[in-house]
C-alpha cells in the first residue's frame, strides 16, 4: 500500500504566481485524507503535482519508497508510470469517445479481456447511474452526468491511490450520498489511499480520516477532523472551519484582558457554541446585550454585545431572551483558543489541559450548516 510523502515541495507558475509553498505532508497508506482550503489556495496544484502533471519547482515527492519528482536530483517519473487515479475538477472527458469508451479506456490499456472489461464497465456505470447513457458522447450529457463519467473512469480502475478534485460538486444530495458511500466502500475494500478535495466541510468531517487545511499555498494544519476543530493550529484554521465562525477577541481589548492573562497572547478565540447564556453573574459571567436572534434550523445564533465587543453565540436550546434584552454570558477559560502575534496557537497553559476532548459528533455539529 503506497504512502505519499511530500518533502518541502513548492510550485511556482511564474515569478509572481506561487501556487504551493514549502509543503511537507505524509499521507499514510490507506489514509482517506481530505484537502480543505479556500478557493485558489493550491489544492488542485497539489493533486496535479502528486499525479505528475505538474513538475515540482522545489522539494521532493515520494510515492511509497520511490522518489517520484525532485528538481534537485533531476528525477521525474512520468504520470503514466505512477499508477494512480485522478478525477479532474474539470472532468477532462474525451470528447471523441462515448461514455462507455471513456470508462473502458483504462481497462483496455491494462489489456483486460473483453468479457471482464464489459462486466467491470457495466458494473461501475450501474453503480453511478449512468448506464443508460453508455452510448452517448460527453457533449450530450448534463453536468452531473459528465462528472459521474469522470468518476467512473477512475473508479473502474481501482487504483491504489486515488486523487479526487471536488468529484461530487455537481451532484444532487441523494446521489452525493450514494457516491460517498461508494467511495468509502472502495477505500475499505481495496485499501485505497484517497486524497480528496472538497469544499463541503461536512463531507470532509464525516468522510476523512485526516484533514489537511491549506491556505495561500501553505499547509496550515494536518490532523484528525476532531483535532482540526478542537485545536486549530492557527487563526486561519480556527476561522476557516466552523460555522458560524469562531469569535475573535483582541487580547488587549477590555474583554480580551479580562478573559486572559497569558503572556504573548495576541488574539483570543471562542467558538460560538462555547459561549453560554446565564441569568446571573456567575464567576466567569459577563454582562451582555442581545442584539439579535437568528434561528438557523434546530439551532439559534445570537448576536451579543459584551464590553464593546460583538460575539456570536450558538445554541441548540431555544433561547429564553429577546433581542434588546440584557443578560449574562459565560466563557469557560479552558474553552479559549489563544493565538500569538503570528497567529499561531498558544497552549492554554493557565487553565491546564482542562479542555474536554470533544467527540467527533459534537465537532461536526457546527459544520453541517455550512
Amino acid at each position: 500500500m503506497p504512502t505519499i510523502t511530500l518533502d518541502a515541495i513548492s510550485k511556482q507558475y511564474s515569478r509572481q504566481a506561487t501556487a504551493v509553498q514549502n509543503i511537507d505532508l505524509h499521507i499514510k497508506s490507506g489514509d482517506f485524507m481530505c484537502l480543505l482550503g479556500p478557493s485558489g489556495c493550491g489544492k488542485t496544484t497539489m493533486l496535479r503535482m502528486i499525479a505528475g502533471l505538474e513538475h515540482l519547482s522545489q522539494g521532493r515527492l515520494f510515492i511509497g519508497d520511490q522518489l517520484m519528482d525532485s528538481p534537485a536530483d533531476g528525477c521525474f517519473v512520468s504520470p503514466e508510470k505512477r499508477g494512480l487515479g485522478l478525477v479532474f475538477q474539470s472532468y477532462a472527458l474525451w470528447p471523441h469517445m462515448t461514455v462507455e469508451q471513456n470508462i473502458e479506456f483504462g481497462l483496455r490499456l491494462r489489456k483486460l479481456p473483453e468479457r471482464e472489461r464489459r462486466t467491470r464497465t457495466g458494473e461501475v456505470m450501474d453503480k453511478l447511474g449512468i448506464a443508460s447513457y453508455a452510448k452517448r458522447y460527453p457533449s450530450q450529457l448534463s453536468g452531473g452526468q459528465q462528472q459521474r463519467v469522470a468518476l467512473a473512469r477512475m473508479m473502474v480502475l481501482k487504483p491504489k491511490v486515488l486523487l479526487l478534485d471536488e468529484p461530487l460538486s455537481n451532484l444532487d444530495a441523494s446521489l452525493r450520498l450514494e457516491m460517498r458511500a461508494e467511495l468509502k466502500r472502495l477505500h475499505q475494500a481495496f485499501d485505497t489511499t484517497i486524497l480528496f478535495v472538497t469544499h463541503d466541510q461536512w463531507e470532509a468531517m464525516t468522510l476523512a480520516t485526516t484533514i489537511a487545511v491549506m491556505s495561500e499555498g501553505q499547509l496550515q494544519q494536518v490532523g484528525s477532523p476532531d483535532d482540526i476543530y478542537a485545536r486549530p493550529a492557527n487563526r486561519f484554521v480556527a476561522e476557516f472551519i466552523g460555522n458560524p465562525p469562531i469569535n475573535q477577541i483582541a487580547a488587549d481589548s477590555t474583554l480580551g484582558s479580562r478573559l486572559n492573562s497569558q503572556p504573548d497572547t495576541h488574539m483570543l478565540g471562542i467558538r460560538p457554541e462555547d459561549i453560554h447564556l446565564t441569568q446571573a453573574a456567575t464567576p466567569y459571567a459577563l454582562p451582555a446585550k442581545v442584539q439579535g436572534i437568528m434561528p438557523t434550523g434546530g439551532s439559534w445564533v445570537l448576536d451579543l454585545e459584551t464590553e464593546g465587543q460583538c460575539l456570536q453565540l450558538s445554541t441548540q436550546i431555544r433561547p429564553q431572551v429577546q433581542a434588546g434584552e440584557h443578560t449574562f454570558c459565560q466563557i469557560q477559560p479552558e474553552h479559549l483558543h489563544l493565538f500569538n502575534t503570528d497567529g499561531h496557537r498558544l497552549e492554554n497553559t493557565r487553565y491546564g489541559q482542562a479542555r474536554i476532548i470533544r467527540n467527533n459528533v459534537s465537532t461536526t455539529t457546527y459544520m453541517h450548516a455550512v
Binding site: 504520470p79 499508477g83 472532468y91 477532462a92 474525451w94 469517445m97 483504462g106 460527453p138 457533449s139
Partner: protein, 601 residues
Amino acid sequence: MVGWITTALPNKRGLQLSLKDPATLLGLGLLTTFSYLILAPVISILMDAVNVNFGDSTRIGAEQGSFTLYYLERVFTSPISQRLFWQPLLNTLSVAIGAMCIAMVVGGIMAWLLSRTNLWGRGWFATALIVPFMLPTWTFALAWTTLFKNRSMGGQPGWLESMGYSSPDWLAYGPVPMIFILALHYIPLVILLFGNALRRLDSQLEDSARILGASRSTVAFRIILPLMRPALMSAMVLILADALGEFAVPYILGLPVQYDTLSTSLFRAISSRQTGVASVLAGAIMVLGCITLTIDLYLMREARRFVTLGGKGAMERRRPLGIWRLPATLLAATLFIIGVVLPLLTLFLSTIMRIPGRFHLSNFTLDYWIGTNLNTIALKNGILLTPEFWSATWNSLRIVGTASVCAGLLGLLVGYVVTRTPWRWLASSLRQLTFMPYLVPGIAFAAATLSLFAVQRGPVPALYGTSMILMLALIADQMPFASRAGISAMTQLGKEPEEAAQISGASWLRRMWSIIVPIQKGALVVGIVLPFISGIKGVSLFIILAVPATEVLTTYSLRLVDYNYTQAANAVVLMIAMLAWGGTILTQKLTKTGLAQGLES
C-alpha cells in the same frame, strides 16, 4: 529573435525535464529530420544567390563559385531592378493580399455556415466547395479568358464578346481577375482549416456572449474570430505564401497587360537558366514569407489563450438560420457555380472540342476520352482506354497517397511539439522550418533534394532513382499544409484530455494514437487532404526527381500537351481533379469525418 531565443533557453532543471518529455524529444527528432529534408536544400538554394554560377564567370569577371554581390545588385539596385523586382513586388503584394482578404472573408463565412448552422445541403456543400482547390489555377484562368477575353487578345472571341459586350482590359486581364481567381482557389483552404477549428469550438462560448446582448457581428468579431486565430492565421499564411509563389495565373492573365509578379520574374530567370538571379528572387519570396510567419509567431505567442477544447462539457449546437437559410444556401450555391461548375465546365468543354471555343456541333468529339483507333501518332485511343494513363494514375495515387498520409501524421506531430514543448526556440524553429518549402520554387527545391539524395549520406542510402526520393521530397514539400493544419488544431486543444489519459496509464504512443489523433481527426484529415490535393496536381518535383518508371499524371499531361493534344491533356487534368476529389471523399469516409459533421459522429 536571437535575444528571444536566449531568454527562452531552458535552465538545467528544465533541460533535464525536457529531455524526458516526449514532446521535446520528438521535437528534436523532427527538427533533425526537417533540417535535413528542408533546411539543407533551402540553404543550398540561397547559396547560389551569392556565388558565381556556371557560365557567369566571364560576365562577372570572377571564378565560378566565388563570392559575388552581382546578382543581388542586379535584382535590387540595377536600372533593370524596377522592372525585375520592385514593380513585380508591388504587384505581387497587391494580388496576394487582395486574394487573401477575399478568400478569408468569403471562406470564413462559408466555413461558419457549413459547420455551425443548419444550411441546406451542408454535408454536400462541405465537400463540393473544396473542389476549386483541386483544379490547377490555370483552369480558372482558362475559364476566365474564355468568358472575358477581348479583342486585344485576338484569337477565338470570348463569350461575352460574341454576345456583343467587349469587356475592358482591366476586367479581362491584370490584377482584378488574378485576385478573383486566386481568391476562389483559396477559399477551400479557409473552409477546411477554419471550419475544422470552428467545429471544435464550444458553442457555449458563443452563447455566453449572446446572453450578454452581443449581436451576431459582435460575437463574430469579438469572440469567434479571436478564438479562431490559430486557424485563421494558418489559413492566412498558407494563402499569402502560396499566392506569393503562384505563377500560372499571373503569367496567363498578366502578360497581355504587362502585369508582372515576382513569380513570373522568377520563372523567367529559371527558364533562361539565370540561376543566380533566380536564387535572389526565390530568397526575396522567402523573406516575404518569413515576415508573414513572424507576424504569425508574434500573434500566436500566448497559445493558451486559444484553447477552445478543454475538459469541461463542451457543447456543440448548430444555429438555426431562420429566414437567412435560403439566402445563405443561395450564397453557397453561387459560390459553387462560380468556383466549381464554371471552371469545370470550361475545362470539360475544352476536352471535347477540336478547336477551343468554337461552338459548332461538328467541333465536338469524345475521341479524346474514349475514342479508338485515332488518327494520331502517340495517342491511339482516348485517354481512358490508354494503359499509360492508368499506370500514371496508379503512380500518382501510390506516391502522392503515401506521402500525404505521412505528411499528415508528421504535421500533427509537429503541431503537438509546437504546442507542448517548453522550449520556445524549438517550437518556433519547427514552425518556420516546416513552412519553408512553400516559399521555395518547386524546381529549385527539387534540384536541391536531388543533390542531397543522389549519394549515400550517413544512414541514408542513395535514393535517387527510386520512388522513395519522390515520397520524401513530396513529404517535405507538403509539410507546410500538414504542419499548419496540425499546429492550428493542437493550439486549440487543451492539455487535459491528454493528461487524463496519462493518468489512466497510457504511454505516449498510446495517448497519441487513442486520444490526440482521434480528437484531431478533422485536422489530420485536413493535413492529409491538402497535401494530397496539392501533391497530385503538382509538377515540379516530379519533373526533376521522377524517373521514367514513375511517370505521374501531371507529367503525362504535359507530354500530351507536347504532342499538341491539348484536349487530351485537359482531360487528364480533369481526371486529376477527380482523383483529388475521390481521395478527399475516401479519406473523409475512412476516418468518418466530414467538415459538416460534429465531434460526436
